[in-house]
Symmetry: C2
Subunit: 375 residues, 2 copies
């Protein structure tokens, strides 16, 4: 059971902006737009929100109250949280705990990102925009090199992840990139850190994403259908990369906690969202999430298992590679996508009969969140 | 009752560094030092800590995990929170909720601040160090001017707050300033924003402060005595200054919530810590916390009510004015002081028979936290 001490929590509304580069918009603009979209989706008014958790990175210790003041000063507690790439997941978790603990019935989890201070088109192209806040491509290129040596992965295995996720992103109107890419385009793109070309790297962007969480009891009273609940919320901090390829990893440990909470295993999932900031990560996470043994992840991309239509689709909205990664909102974009899929409203990228989905995010400093939502 | 949905939570250990200007030390150094002091105080080991909340301002989205990794990678969730001046209070509240909700039994709340990137000795002297992160003296000088016009306060009323709090700070070995100041020194100090001289303004500094929270049940099992519990945790966001002097304020609303949770009123408190970043604030808070009617606060400082030995001492450790205000840890320094007083270990600044204390913090962006601790 999901944190059995807590009462049931539902996600009753989601909203996001289309991620992209918006030099004319402020961080506040993105946060307001996402919040209003989530309120409309939940058919609630701002006055119905009793608490807010706002995740961002390097936007300052006043960003939450400053953003939500634009919608209205209702006096609710507004907590800023920050865990690098996973800041949106952090906001989701704290809102979940507040409701689960009975402190309130309806809370907002909001993520805001504004990364276009630097105009480099892809994270890998320019290195970290803000100190150590963004995992540079070089770290993951080394990972890829080691995997190729140890397991016989090829650069094309990673390229296939980019092709798949861009194909998914092209089916998502909120995706930063709306066009599919071919394997030749991925191979031939500008090299960032061998074997990762720029099309192996998440883009830089801006945006907002929000979720409205509600006690399951109140959601039922409101007549919300389908009722989507939080089946697991696991969070650990550790080195997120182990020194050797086969030692236990942070994602491994965190996902095991989540599976236990949900009473479900990896193959029970209908879809999975992950931190695919660099293509090689997705192959790694197939293994770390327990879908296959160490070193066997590449088979899943070869066999089409993780594309929409396959047995267990990953990154159905395009993932960080195509949907984008403005950092603050990314974890909540994963929730947005999972809710669309569990509602059956994902349109051309719908995973048939989806009833349970997993969202994994890592963040610099060594944090991992795994949330499981089910209907 | 304190958030009646939550189980009882105790504070079983506190630790802090002496606040000051330490150009040779990093933020991580301060965080580690405070954490180790709190662990020693609680007679616990690092492996006993099951979750951590880390409050800071503008130290980046990885500061918590990066700091605590220096003590050891135990895999626990480490959440960064940020609410400007109130970031330490935010960490305390989230740790309180996590334990109250039953997610864990023992958690660390840590605050870290490193403000000496700018070497200006007092916050008011240099304006905000990081964008809008620090309320500049001018805002509070305008407040003072209006109070003098409306209520007949004098500049000396505010100067007396500085004298009192520096006198308290001189009794606290962890205070940034260890020397009392005379009213003539306060009057004659360099003018920042009339009527506030530099001795009306909080100093700039660095430091760390930590509290270890524990379920009351487990604390009893551990034999902790005296048992100090959280009697209230209230948190609101709004404009923290009202447009007119007599309209309701954020501190007023937040403290009323806290009093209701604690089943106690302002005059039931034995001591109070507040956000006295500028002297005029303390007079304001006498009124906003409900000790007296609007406009009558200055009488309390004249009559010595709020000094140690008076009926209800404020800022017993020196407050932001003398103990210091490195932002991230300040809210937890208030908890540190309250715990010393409730234990009866405050030495020459001990408030006789103290059994209940209030900690109020505001933060830029418009946030207010009020915590009440009792033994």
């Amino acid at each position: 059971m999901a944190n059995a001490q807590l009462r049931g929590v539902a996600v009753i509304g989601v909203g996001m902006t289309r991620f992209g580069q918006y030099p004319e918009k402020s961080a506040v603009d993105h946060g307001v737009e996402a919040t209003l979209a989530a309120l409309a989706d939940a058919r609630l008014e701002w006055k119905d929100i009793q608490a807010a958790y706002v995740g961002s990175m390097n936007l300052g210790g006043t960003i939450g109250p400053m953003t939500l003041a634009e919608i209205g000063l209702t006096g609710i507690p507004i907590m800023n949280v920050e865990n690098a790439s996973a800041s949106g997941s952090a906001a989701f978790r704290e809102a979940y705990i507040a409701i689960g603990a009975g402190l309130c019935d309806v809370a907002l989890a909001l993520g805001i990102g504004k990364m276009t201070a630097s105009q480099a088109p892809r994270a890998g192209a320019a290195g970290p925009p803000h100190g150590d806040s963004f995992p540079p491509a070089a770290v993951f290129a080394m990972r890829a090199q080691r995997r190729m040596f140890e397991y016989g992965d090829t650069a094309d295995h990673y390229a296939k992840v980019s092709v798949k996720n861009h194909r998914h992103g092209a089916l998502n109107p909120f995706s930063q990139f709306q066009e599919p890419v071919t394997i030749d385009e991925v191979r031939g793109a500008r090299m960032i850190a061998d074997p990762l070309t720029v099309l192996h790297c998440t883009p830089r962007g801006d945006g907002g994403a929000a979720a409205i969480l509600c006690s399951a009891e109140k959601a039922r009273a409101l007549g919300v259908s389908p009722l989507i609940t939080v089946a697991a919320s696991a969070f650990r901090s550790e080195l997120y990369r182990s020194p050797t390829l086969d030692s236990p990893t942070l994602t491994e440990a965190t996902s095991r906690e989540a599976y236990e909470q949900a009473g479900a295993g990896p193959w029970d999932m209908d879809l999975v969202q992950i931190h695919d900031a660099f293509t090689v990560e997705e192959i790694d996470y197939y293994e770390e999430l327990g879908l296959c043994a160490r070193g066997e992840g590449a088979k899943l991309i070869d066999e089409g298992v993780t594309e929409i239509g396959g047995k267990l689709p990953f990154s159905t909205d395009g993932g960080l590679l195509a949907r984008g990664h403005p950092v603050g909102p990314t974890g909540l974009a994963q929730v947005w996508e999972t809710v669309q899929q569990l509602r059956g409203t994902a349109g051309p990228r719908q995973v048939g009969g989806a009833s349970i989905g997993l969202c994994q995010m890592i963040g610099a400093g060594g944090v991992c969140f795994v949330h499981i939502l089910k209907r």
